[in-house]
């Protein structure tokens, strides 16, 4: 009996090892979902960043027109670092009694690179910021726009977004373009 049992065990083991048991349809673990890139193409990323910059610029102009009041209105558009820079910039407006009048624009937008990671996307672009249609006024309403102000500035802009729905691109960097002026 013991021998028979042993033989049966060995036989079962052999069958298991050889994989010859009738296959039951088993639910296989689905592969880990791979994070699809947020933007299918560079053009899509550029379009999203361009739209985000337009929204950011409109709000920045609005705060500047209000003499720098309530700069926290910029928070939905920028990272915490940039919000600190913006707060500092608008504090100058308030302390000097300055306000802006007019609309800033931008053009010559180009993509530097798109870096789509597993949990975030980074978009770098360059553009020409144009403040030629904006003037600075003092408290008395006198125009105090600096005579030697550069009206068109080549900038390097970086946006970042962490995976969330909806995707929120936030301005993370805004620096002068380091190369030759293309504006």
């Amino acid at each position: 009996m013991r021998t028979a049992s042993m033989v049966a065990t060995v036989a079962l083991a052999a069958v298991l090892l050889s994989g010859c048991l009738p296959q039951q349809p088993t639910a296989t673990t689905p592969p880990e979902p791979t994070a699809a890139p947020i933007f299918a193409t560079d053009e899509e990323a550029l379009a999203a960043a361009t739209a985000a910059y337009a929204a950011y610029l409109a709000m920045s102009d609005q705060i500047a027109a209000d003499g720098g009041a309530n700069p926290e209105r910029l928070e939905p558009f920028v990272t915490a670092d940039q919000q600190a820079n913006a707060a500092e910039s608008f504090a100058v407006y308030r302390k000097m009694g300055l306000r802006a009048e007019g609309t800033s624009t931008f053009d010559e937008v180009g993509l530097i690179q798109v870096d789509q990671g597993t949990d975030a996307v980074f978009i770098d672009l360059y553009l020409c910021l144009d403040v030629s249609k904006v003037r600075a006024l003092d408290e008395a309403g006198l125009v105090v726009t600096p005579d030697d102000r550069t009206d068109r500035l080549p900038l390097e802009i970086a946006f970042e977004a962490y995976f969330s729905m909806p995707i929120e691109l936030k301005l993370a960097r805004s620096e002068p373009w380091s190369g030759t002026n293309f504006c």
């Binding site: 560079d42 610029l57 920045s60 102009d61 705060i63 500047a64 720098g68 940039q82 820079n85 913006a86 500092e88 910039s89 608008f90 504090a91 100058v92 407006y93 302390k95 000097m96 300055l98 802006a100 007019g102 800033s104 010559e108 180009g110 993509l111 530097i112 690179q113 360059y126 910021l129 403040v131 030629s132 249609k133 904006v134 003037r135 600075a136 003092d138 006198l142 125009v143 105090v144 726009t145 600096p146 005579d147 030697d148 102000r149 550069t150 500035l153 080549p154 900038l155 390097e156 805004s174 620096e175 002068p176 373009w177 380091s178 190369g179 030759t180 002026n181 293309f182």
Partner: protein, 274 residues
């Protein structure tokens, strides 16, 4: 610190009853926000393409209608700078427009003309840059491959609006498509490892790392900012940039393995390890 300096300057300005913001006395910010730009705090960029650049001075809202003296962009505020507008597309051999530069009479308006655009200079083409890479024609997976371009400012002579003219093209950006799904636009042309004074396979401003073996097609487009001039006049920028494709590079990426060989493989190609 910058802000304190700013405030100090503001206080001095107020005491002297100077209403214009003396931007030149301020420090330049590395960060440049639109709100900074409006009050003249953004700087540190090249003001123009050339060392003798000038402003075309045509109100973009009204092409062909030069602003009148005293009529600035901002509608003639009390602190408007003295207007420097003039339209001197085809300067006379003598007169206020000659040279577009110093000595011009800011109050002279010559016949209005439309601003020159990229389409006007379609016949002026800069020659393509030569894109280079090292190692030449191959790369090692996981190590930096160095890409660079031989870019120079170019002057092309021709005829513009019926007048002999020159167009100067200044390279301003280098757009690389590395053929592996990534691309990058750089503000410098890059340089060879030797010219940069670094060891081979070092990272450089123009280097790129390939992650898998294969054959890649690499394309470079150089963006040029154009300026034009008539005769010996000053250079006037033209709005926009012109993308000029360079030669295409094809290269193979492979894995590198270090093996010990008895003699150099060039000497004994059949030796063990070669």
């Amino acid at each position: 610190m910058v802000r304190y300096q700013l405030l100090l300057t503001a206080a001095i300005s107020a005491s002297l009853a100077v209403t214009a913001i003396p931007a030149a006395s301020w420090s330049v910010l590395s960060n440049c926000l639109p709100s900074d730009a409006i009050i003249g705090l953004c700087g540190g960029v090249t003001a123009g393409l050339g060392d003798d650049d000038v402003t075309i001075g045509i109100d973009v809202n009204q092409p062909g209608s030069p602003r009148q003296p005293g009529e600035g962009i901002d509608g003639g505020g009390v602190n408007d700078p003295v207007p420097e507008d003039e339209v001197c597309i085809a300067p006379a051999p003598s007169g206020p427009c000659q040279g577009f530069g110093a000595g011009r009479d800011p109050f002279t308006i010559t016949s209005p003309v439309l601003p020159i655009t990229l389409s006007d200079i379609a016949n002026f083409r800069p020659s393509a840059d030569v894109a280079g890479m090292e190692p030449n024609g191959w790369m090692i997976v996981g190590l930096d491959t160095n890409f660079f371009a031989d870019s120079t400012r170019q002057v092309v002579d021709g005829v513009l609006l019926g007048q002999p003219a020159s167009v100067r093209f200044t390279p301003v950006a280098w757009r690389w498509n590395y053929g592996d799904g990534t691309s990058k636009t750089l503000s410098t042309p890059g340089a060879s490892w030797a010219a940069s004074g670094v060891a081979e396979f070092s990272p450089t401003s123009g280097s790129h790392i390939y992650r898998s073996p294969g054959t890649y097609v690499i394309d470079l487009s150089v963006l040029y900012a154009p300026e034009y001039r008539f005769g010996a006049g000053g250079w006037t920028p033209i709005s926009g940039t012109l993308a000029v494709p360079s030669n295409r590079l094809t290269a193979t990426a492979g894995n590198a393995t270090t093996v010990l060989v008895e003699r150099e493989c060039t000497v004994n190609p059949r030796g063990p390890g070669c």
